[in-house]
């Protein structure tokens, strides 16, 4: 099954962990301050001069940390929803959770008075809380609307697409009604960007990940069994309803808090679990490896976005340009496979 004792999964998890560590150092290095690898490591672990400490601890490290934590949250959340619905297309993005959290957060930014740009206590607690409420309400609505004596994963996806469209419209409406400065802050935030994050954005994501990841890991066995279908897993002693509730709450909280920190970074929750599953050759996306790959994707995307080109590109655009073609490719492959087996 999916335990870490599987050699291939263990190898994949270790290697992606190492990749994340390397990206962390590159993320601190990348930029126009002329720090060397030695400087960075020295400042991180021993202590450098004031200038180096400021660059590393106040400018670069929060950005890299938010990238890692957001990516890990999205990766784990995607792995949870994909496993639970047994459908790689069912990600928090498509199911509407991301846009629900975004609508909540934009409402907070717009109505709460543009606190995003200032970085007050609102950003620390209020914004993540409202995003979580938005995400949870959306999840309940989508799940309820797709209920017709059971939830079919395709109906879930289609209802999610419809609800996402409505929420996107509502978000745009809120922006139109807002004052210009708040509208600009919300608009910039909506692209999904790590620019301008500070330590205050790190803590909520860190807390949600440290609470939700262990909770999600307790569901590993149940997730393995649900791959066999609801009836079989009931027969094997899984309390399906309670298990499903825990999985959904984990996925929604992880997604919503991540979205509140960085804005919606599209396609990570789809991409990371699928890459992890293919690398590890497991039946469903492995949780830890998905989280690590998500962290690598967001941090790597951010590094590419701010260094590769003369102008800086938000990480959300980089992940969409990489993730959307992968989704399209998967769709064609999936279709042709289903046709040959049908």
């Amino acid at each position: 099954m999916n335990g870490l004792w599987q050699p291939r999964l263990l190898a994949v998890t270790t290697m992606t962990g190492a990749l994340v560590a390397v990206l962390l150092v590159i993320g601190i290095l990348a930029g126009s301050s002329g720090l060397s690898v030695g400087d960075v490591l020295h400042t991180l672990f021993i202590g450098g001069d004031a200038g180096q400490r400021f660059i590393v601890f106040e400018l670069r490290l929060p950005r890299v940390a938010v990238g890692l934590l957001v990516g890990a949250s999205l990766g784990v959340a995607g792995a949870l929803t994909q496993s639970f619905s047994r459908n790689p297309l069912a990600t928090p993005d498509i199911l509407g959770v991301t846009s629900g959290a975004a609508a909540g957060a934009v409402a907070a930014i717009v109505i709460g008075g543009g606190t995003y740009a200032v970085g007050s206590g609102m950003l620390g607690v209020g914004l993540p809380a409202i995003a979580v409420i938005g995400g949870l309400v959306t999840a309940i609505v989508v799940y309820g609307l797709s209920w017709r004596s059971g939830v079919d994963s395709y109906r879930l996806i289609l209802v999610g697409i419809g609800v996402t469209a409505s929420l996107t419209g509502i978000t745009q409406y809120l922006i139109v009604r807002a004052q210009l400065t708040q509208a600009a802050a919300a608009q910039q935030w909506l692209v999904g960007s790590l620019s301008g994050v500070s330590w205050i954005s790190v803590w909520p994501v860190l807390v949600s990940l440290t609470v939700m990841l262990p909770l999600a890991l307790t569901q590993t066995r149940a997730l393995d069994l649900t791959q066999l279908g609801d009836d079989v897993s009931v027969g094997l002693g899984v309390a399906v309803q309670r298990h499903r509730l825990i999985v959904i709450v984990c996925a929604v909280v992880l997604t919503a808090v991540a979205v509140s920190a960085s804005g919606p970074i599209e396609f990570v929750a789809f991409l990371a679990p699928q890459v992890a599953r293919r690398l590890a050759a497991t039946a469903r996306p492995p949780l830890l490896a998905s989280g690590l790959i998500g962290a690598a994707v967001v941090t790597g995307g951010d590094i590419v976005g701010r260094t590769l080109l003369p102008w800086s590109v938000p990480v959300g655009i980089v992940t969409a340009i990489v993730g959307a073609p992968y989704l399209i490719w998967l769709l064609t492959r999936r279709n042709s496979r289903e046709r040959t087996t049908a």
Binding site: L158, I161, A165, S166, G169, Y173, E266, I321, L331
Partner: protein, 363 residues
Amino acid sequence: MRTPPVLTRGVSPGASAGADSHCAAALASPAPGRRLRLTGALIGLPAALVVVVMASLVLGSNHVSLGQVLTALVDRSDDPGAIVWGSRVPRTVLGLVVGACLGVAGAVMQGQTRNPLADPGLFGVSAGASLAVVLGIYLADVTSVLAILWLAFVGAVVASLVVFGVAALGRGLASPVPLAIAGMAVSALLGAVTSFLVLTDEATLAGYRIWVVGSLSGRTLSGIGPALAIAAAGAVLAVLNARSLDTLALGAELATGLGENLVRARLVGLGAITLLTASAVAITGPIGFVGLTAPHVARSLVGGSHARLLPASALVGAIVLLGCDVVGRLIGGMGEVSVGVVLSVLGGGVFVTIVRRGRMAQL
């Protein structure tokens, strides 16, 4: 829903003619209950259109009474005349044209794919058209309406080929999920590329804003001739496609059995969809959900025969688009909410309703 292959192989020329006349009869003579609805539609749709047009002329940020509007329509010289002829009339005319275009494009798309969720905005056709326009603005500083039309047309063709290609590689176009997700993915990709372009160049942003929101605000009638011509060409193709769409409703295999030239039918349909969408996008930017909603409302009123469905979809599309534009003017407070945003909120609900009704395969 797939047609069992047995059916097509078993159809002899005689049986084919019989089936043809049978389904033609079924399509031509509606059931008694439906006849009542048909009469209702014949009176109700034009009446609703008149109401919406009047509302669009009267309601807006500047207060003009109905009497003043009616006077101003005849006499352009005085003050309300400037508002009515300067902004309300162009806006109303363009709304009607774009709504009708998108309604018909949606009906053809749903007929061609037998997919009840088909919509040019939702499935990336509009996103392709607007990306091409933004590329043109970015690379070549394009401003003329004719050039923008061409760009929108090329973008619409490319995007629809990609979306349909992706979806058709497998379970067929009639299966709603692959097409919906392929459309979503292509839209997301095109949107990301567009944002990427815009970020490189602030100057593009100003010209680009018009093409991303889908709005009737501030559009004028000048230079709109080419767009109207393209729209008319698209409408002609759609009408020519009506009979084929009726046979395609039985499934591609059965349609071939009935003597339908599949390649020609598909090409004419694709031409209609792209011409209509391109002209709509060239006028207002991408607007979703009209093409989804209009055919469903029209179908419930006049039935599935495309000879009736296409004009009814045009009417419903015009009513829906103009109605949503009026709503957007009223709820915006100081500013105004663009029609694309209103439609996105309401259209999401329509989409969910269609999914929940769950008659996916029966179109």
